[in-house]
Amino acid sequence: MADLEAFRSETRAWLEANCPAEMREPVRDESDIYWGGRRATFKNDAQKAWLEACVAKGYTVPSWPKAYGGAGLSPAEAKVLREEMGRIGARPPLSSFGIWMLGPALLHFGTEGQKQRFLNEIARGEIRWCQGYSEPGSGSDLVSLQTFGEDKGESWVVNGQKIWTSYADHADWIFCLVRTDKADKYQGITFMLFDMASEGVTTKPILLISGNSPFCETFFDDVQVPKSYGDDCPAYVGQINRGWDVAKYLLGHEREMISGADGGDRTAGIGAAMKRHAAKLGDDLDPVLRAELAMFDVDALAYTAMGEKFLDEIKVGKAHPAQPNMMKYAGTELNKRRHEMMMAVGGSRALEWESDATEGGKPSRSWLRTKANSIEGGTSEVMLNVIAKRILDLPGA
């Protein structure tokens, strides 16, 4: 305990010295987030300085081992760091699918060679990944995927199409589910890693209802994927044909991330802030709206406690392995409701699609974006199926 308190004051001092004031402002839009990668540019010097300071300290991936670019923090220390960053409103120095999804999978299934190479690049923000899971005919029923890799001995030749590939057009590499055995549905999928600059890879952006276009259709036309990138560094994670295990493990992390269980601001009560917001707009809360906000805050504050409990239990292995599905379900449904409430308080002002007052229609665009929360990473219905089957043990589920 005394050690943790020492770590807290150390961290506080370090943040004070290293986190620039500009990086303590709330993230306003996409351009405030640094995703890293070969083609990344910094929005300003502060963003660059903040990333570099964190990379040097291992704080882009604080709980990863030091050998792979992390700080090797214990869960308790990582929690202190999160709390201290939260306290000053520090932005994450680096956001990436490498950190949230691929990294944990590599830590669990990767070879030493893969860890050395990819984890360090991810931790330093030098590589940007995208996730090639979904296909036009394979969304919730992911295991039905058809993208095929023909075994050519030293390499595969991959053909097929992915869809909803977030940021595929900005990504350097893809972690991709490819069928390598047509005879076995579950044990015929390989989890491959390859360069998006490979010949035969093309992407086409998809425009969303929010007006943004973070997704792509991704096409593979005779893409050559070598089986190895060198000594102890295969191009596939886990075993050939056993990629489904890796895929599921990674989905668990994706769901946790989307659930907001890590204590992101989306899980706090909003009533008080909404009253202030209404006052700024020269209005007050209707009694019925106030009542709805209060009921929402009850649910939101209760969910915050659940998030805390979930993380505490995960640390000591007490959580049910399917619990992330429940967190994802409850957290995303709550976040959608949160944005419905914010739109209601914002009134007509929240309808502005392009205006300075709304920083480019932020309320309405965010509101629309949250509708994806209960779809991406597995839909709410699929989460409920998993709870029924794995937690409640209902028949035939």
Binding site: A272, R290, D299, E308, Y329, I387, A388
Partner: protein, 379 residues
């Protein structure tokens, strides 16, 4: 503090679960006493057994002969009471009245606590004066008279009022009905003359009273805490009671949910187990999520209260409201998914619905507490 039970607490939970499932189950207690039209609505034998288990005095300080445990521990017992719908004076006596008595004089403690700890005494609390929980409004008056007071007014829905050896009464010693100050708490003994009870059986088979105080003469040493300064004690008592009621509600919700999920695995229609129908699976999964969340915030509230954190107030109301909403969902889905049999008296699921209705109302329903959440949050 991590939001799960430590080793000692987990052990207590095991013990409490086994004991209450065995001795406090529905057939043995709730149905047994109800079917005999018992005037108390609960069994004194079980209360005595709970004393032998050390439960009755768990919130009483060690110096006063209790176990000096916290609200996490009391919550463990309450959750099992809720799960088994065990009629028991635990919440009113061991949580509410015991919390009030913490603020009492040594004399008062000496008079009442040994009986509580031994399971010989039962206490009630008399706060509300109307059909809804409105502790901000107290009209019952206590006027100075000689060395003591004369208590006049009435209290409604005093749970186990007629069965109690002592009732903690919140009365006004000065000011107007809606004033925060001017409240005094009294420990009113069973045999105080001028006190009359109209006994009513409630939907959940518990017994309540509308109690009238007709110039009831009380000694000065019946005062718990300070004269005119009782609001703080009242608030502390309510806080403990709300967190306790939330824990019991979690038990009710879990009990109803477990029964229902079991039923889904047994009942066949259309040639299938009804648990195979996705329409029911999804609702069951949603219910499970809500129950987990309600339980998490209840543990949070218990821990904050034990730590003496100022935020316990807010979290207690969050917990009480969340649990009320969740237990309601659990019993409604429970009866519905049981189909016609859920409407029968023979099946237990309906008993959960009745208990939920009464428990949710006790010390403020979901609306009352959501309103408090808004007020405490500044809107």
């Amino acid at each position: 503090m991590p939001l799960y039970h430590n080793e000692d607490q987990a052990m207590l939970a095991d013990t409490a679960r086994g004991f209450i499932a065995e001795e406090g189950n529905i057939a043995r207690q709730l149905r047994h006493w109800r079917d005999r039209n018992c005037k108390d609505g609960f069994g004194h034998g079980l209360w005595k057994q709970m004393a032998e288990m050390g439960f009755t005095g768990m919130l009483v300080d060690e110096a006063d002969g209790g176990l000096g445990m916290g609200h996490v521990e009391a919550g463990i017992v309450l959750e099992e009471i809720g799960r088994n719908l065990t009629p028991s004076p635990f919440l009113t006596s061991s949580v509410l009245a015991a919390t009030a008595l913490k603020h009492g004089s040594d004399d008062l403690k000496g008079r009442y606590l040994p009986g509580l700890i031994a399971g010989d005494s039962v206490f009630a609390v008399a706060i509300d004066e109307t059909a809804k929980h409105r502790p901000s409004r107290i009209a019952t008056r206590a006027e100075k008279s000689g060395n003591g007071f004369k208590l006049s007014g009435s209290k409604s829905f005093v749970i186990q009022g007629a069965s109690s050896d002592m009732i903690v009464v919140a009365a006004r010693t000065s000011g107007g009905d809606e004033d925060a100050d001017g409240i005094t708490l009294f420990a009113v003994p069973k045999d105080a003359s001028g006190m009359s009870h109209e006994v009513v059986r409630l939907v959940d088979s518990s017994m309540a009273t509308h109690t009238r105080f007709d110039a009831v003469e009380l000694d000065g040493d019946a005062v718990i805490g300070e004269i005119d300064g009782g609001r703080a004690v009242l608030d502390a008592m309510l806080l403990a009671g709300r967190v306790g009621a939330a824990a019991e509600g979690v038990g009710v919700a879990r009990g109803a949910m477990d029964m229902t999920v079991d039923y889904l695995k047994q009942r066949k229609q259309f040639g299938k187990l009804i648990g195979e129908f996705q329409a029911l699976q999804h609702r069951a999964s949603h219910l499970y999520s809500e129950v987990e969340i309600a339980r998490a915030v209840t543990i949070k509230a218990q821990q904050l209260l034990d730590a003496g954190a100022p935020s316990a107030e807010l979290m207690a109301s969050v917990a009480k409201a969340k649990v009320a909403k969740t237990a309601r969902l659990a019993v409604q889905e429970g009866v519905q998914m049981h189909g016609g049999i859920g409407m029968t008296d023979e099946y237990d699921i309906g008993l959960y619905m009745k208990r939920d209705r009464a428990l949710a109302e006790f010390l403020g329903d979901a609306h009352f507490h959501a309103n408090r959440v808004a007020t405490l949050s500044g809107y």
